[in-house]
């Protein structure tokens, strides 16, 4: 049975690390549905968070293989029960009809309007992937949409 897994890795912050690490997935035919990378406070390292879909009985082996990589300092599958996961999206709506603007302003309350011009409005939304996906659906009723998403990042709560 296939499940979605969030794999959080701490890796060396050097060129070529993303290539070699992502290749572990590619080699085995996994699609990376989402990836986010950012430096840690000790900027010799970065956190790379991957979202992949995998069979339950394959995921542990995948983590062991990840752990073997020289540049991977730490790897773990994030426990979905203790997880805070968020994504950021910038959604640009091309406004066809000026009369739509109040309505757009309304729905944009879920996030923040960060830019407005004669023909377009850009809204920043932060939240779960589902919240963003649903908002994009909704926003597309109001005009043509352009969207840029960061991909999921996540962290475990508590100890």
């Amino acid at each position: 049975m296939k499940n979605e897994y969030l794999i959080s890795t701490v890796v060396e912050n050097k060129p070529g690390v993303l290539y070699r690490t992502a290749n572990v997935f590619r080699q085995r035919g996994y699609n990376i549905r989402s990836i986010s990378v950012g430096e840690l406070r000790d900027n010799s390292m970065s956190r790379m968070t991957f979202v992949i879909e995998a069979e339950e009985n394959a995921i542990n082996q995948l983590v062991k293989v990840m752990n073997k990589q020289i540049d991977v300092v730490d790897v773990k599958i994030l426990d979905p029960k203790r997880l805070i996961k968020k994504e950021l999206a910038l959604i640009k709506i091309y406004v066809k009809d000026q009369k739509m603007i109040p309505k757009i302003r309304d729905i944009a309350n879920i996030g923040t309007i960060i830019d407005e011009s004669v023909n377009s409005i850009i809204i920043e939304v932060t939240g779960t992937s589902e919240k963003i996906t649903d908002f994009v659906e909704l926003a597309s009723d109001y005009g043509k949409i352009d969207i840029s998403r960061t991909g999921l990042t996540a962290i475990e709560r508590g100890e």
């Binding site: 070529g16 290539y19 290749n23 082996q61 062991k64 293989v65 752990n67 020289i70 300092v73």
Partner: protein, 565 residues
């Protein structure tokens, strides 16, 4: 402690760093992008062995590494030189062999501009190496070398590639030669958990039908004495995987020989009867154990390996013992010794094992004619001294060697199993000869394989590393033909080599000795001659193309369903 040396060029620093690693020889071929490296090598005591194709340099480094248990080093220039190494590097990672490949690269300001002989070798080599480095300044070189040797040789060994842009070879900078790698995640050598060892010891001591499966890890680790001690304490029969062949002497009374696709009938039959299996340095390859979900369902499996990602990968283990196999086996022996005495030498299981072994081993080899693959191998074993190194190519001859050539001295048999690289055996033999010039080195070969890398003969002759190549010449890609025979209704395509080339003439063209042996008598004379020769010898033995290798465990079937004839 850092050894400060005043300013050196990157290439001088590279050679110095290799000297500090006690490298004895480098297999390589110079080109534009590594001229500075070669210039620095000129003044070194490290020997350079010139190849005629970089693939051979990588295979020679690999053969050297397996025979010496030290890392092998090869050099190539940029572009095609580097890409020519890839087959050899992929072979090494598939067989966990430590080699360091050092390639020249165009200058950093030319990278990305499609410069002459520029190629993204780091990109290409990443999936087939343990790690790659591209030092962009010369000062980085010594630490990169130190790190590379550590990575290649610790934990589960494997290849590392260092790609040095030309400017990093030529610029002069202040150098430090570190004595330690500076990798954050050093390859920690885990030792097996003592509680797990204890449990494993109990299981083995209480087993009614114990079995040891020795794999490639035992050979890589040199754990021969430890394995023998454990086997003798338990009075447990020992089978080997094909890669593990020779980890346990096949003349030992407990040896059943190889299991697997072309393993001994008795070995395949008996392993599936065991109740407790100790897998030592093996990875449960499908070639060894047949269809995974039909293997070992009734047995308790103790899996000892240095790579934690192998435990549970192909087969679930009841107990995992993670660590270097030499240490694990010593700990196991110690734990068993505290709990019990050595088992008595006669008990029900061992009696059954010997009975089955006798039945199958007393069957005479089919002899439809004087020379067959199997008979040639028996004759070779008769004539060759126990202390000799053997490599093989890939094909029917290789599988007949698995079945019919008993390895007497542990750790003297080497073959490309993971990748199954035709053409590996001859250059690997040359590399092995460099490691052990005191021993005869023989490549068991097929006529399809040899021509892939036959230019290694040039190195064998010019570098005075005489090896003996015995070609099982059936004018065919024999193994492919066998599969076409058995699975494709004899629709032979692409397998007829038509007796080209004439290997005796090829040998002579390379300055080696070429002998055609058309009878067992001639073969015996040729091999004895070769053993006494100072120059490489190729013995070309015509054999009948219609021979099949049996027994055969057909892919995706269980060991119990092996086809015996």
């Amino acid at each position: 402690m850092l050894k400060n040396i005043s300013e050196l060029t990157g290439s001088d620093a590279l050679i110095k760093a290799l000297e500090y690693e006690e490298v004895e020889g480098i297999f390589g071929l110079p080109g534009g992008a590594n001229l500075p490296i070669y210039d620095s090598l000129y003044d070194s005591d490290i020997r350079h062995l010139l190849v005629r194709h970089e693939q051979n340099a990588a295979h020679m480094a690999d053969g050297y590494a397996r025979a010496s248990r030290k890392p092998g080093v090869c050099f190539a220039t940029s572009g095609p030189g580097a890409t020519n190494l890839i087959t050899g590097i992929a072979t090494a990672i598939a067989d966990s062999s430590p080699i360091i490949a050092i390639t020249g690269q165009v200058a950093s300001d030319m990278i990305g501009k499609d410069a002459f002989q520029e190629c993204d070798i780091i990109g290409i080599a990443t999936p087939v190496t343990k790690y790659t480095y591209q030092p962009l300044t010369s000062a980085e070189v010594p630490q990169v070398v130190k790190n590379s040797f550590h990575i290649a040789t610790s934990g589960r060994p494997g290849p590392v590639l260092i790609d040095i842009p030309k400017n990093a070879q030529t610029e002069k900078m202040k150098m430090n030669f570190p004595t330690k790698p500076n990798i954050r995640k050093l390859q920690q050598l885990q030792t097996a958990d003592l509680k797990a060892i204890d449990k494993a010891a109990d299981l083995l001591l209480n087993a009614e039908r114990p079995m040891i499966m020795t794999g490639g890890g035992v050979i890589i680790s040199g754990a021969f004495k430890e394995l023998q001690a454990v086997a003798e304490f338990l009075v447990s029969p020992v089978v080997s995987t094909f890669k593990g062949k020779g980890g346990f002497s096949e003349t030992h009374y407990l040896s059943l020989g190889p299991i697997g696709m072309h393993g001994h009938v008795e070995a395949n039959k008996l392993i599936i009867e065991s109740d407790v299996l100790l897998a030592a340095g093996a990875r449960f390859s499908d070639r060894s154990v047949g269809k995974w979900d039909e293997f070992g369902n009734e047995m308790t499996i103790i899996h000892a390996d240095i790579d934690p990602s192998e435990i549970g990968k192909n087969k679930n283990a009841d107990i995992g013992l993670i660590g270097d196999i030499k240490t694990t086996l010593s700990l196991l022996l110690s734990a068993m010794g505290k709990k019990a005495q050595k088992r008595q030498s006669e008990y029900e299981w061992i009696n059954r094992v010997n009975e089955i072994k006798d039945i199958w081993r007393s069957k005479p080899l089919p002899a439809p004619r004087e020379i067959t693959g199997p008979r040639l191998l028996k004759k070779m074993r008769e004539i060759l001294p126990e202390a000799c190194l053997v490599t093989t190519e890939v094909g029917q001859h290789q599988m007949w060697a698995s079945l019919h050539f008993d390895v007497a001295e542990p750790g003297t048999f080497f073959t490309s199993t993971g990748l199954g690289t035709m053409g590996w055996g001859l250059p690997a033999a040359v590399g092995a000869k460099f490691a052990r010039p005191d021993l005869p080195v023989i490549d068991i070969a097929g006529d399809g394989s040899v021509q892939m890398t036959e230019s290694a003969l040039a190195t064998s002759v010019t570098e005075k590393l005489p090896v003996i190549t015995v070609i099982f010449n059936n004018g065919m890609l024999g193994m492919v033909a066998q599969w076409q025979r058995l699975f494709y209704e004899r629709k032979y395509i692409g397998v007829e080599l038509q007796g080209i080339p004439d290997y005796v003439k090829i040998a002579e063209a390379y300055g080696a000795q070429g002998i055609r042996a058309q009878s067992m008598n001639e073969f015996e004379k040729a091999l004895k001659n070769a053993l006494n020769s100072d120059v490489a010898t190729v013995i070309d033995v015509p054999i009948n193309p219609d021979e099949d290798v049996f027994p055969f465990v057909v892919p995706n079937t269980a060991l119990k369903d092996m086809v015996i004839a």
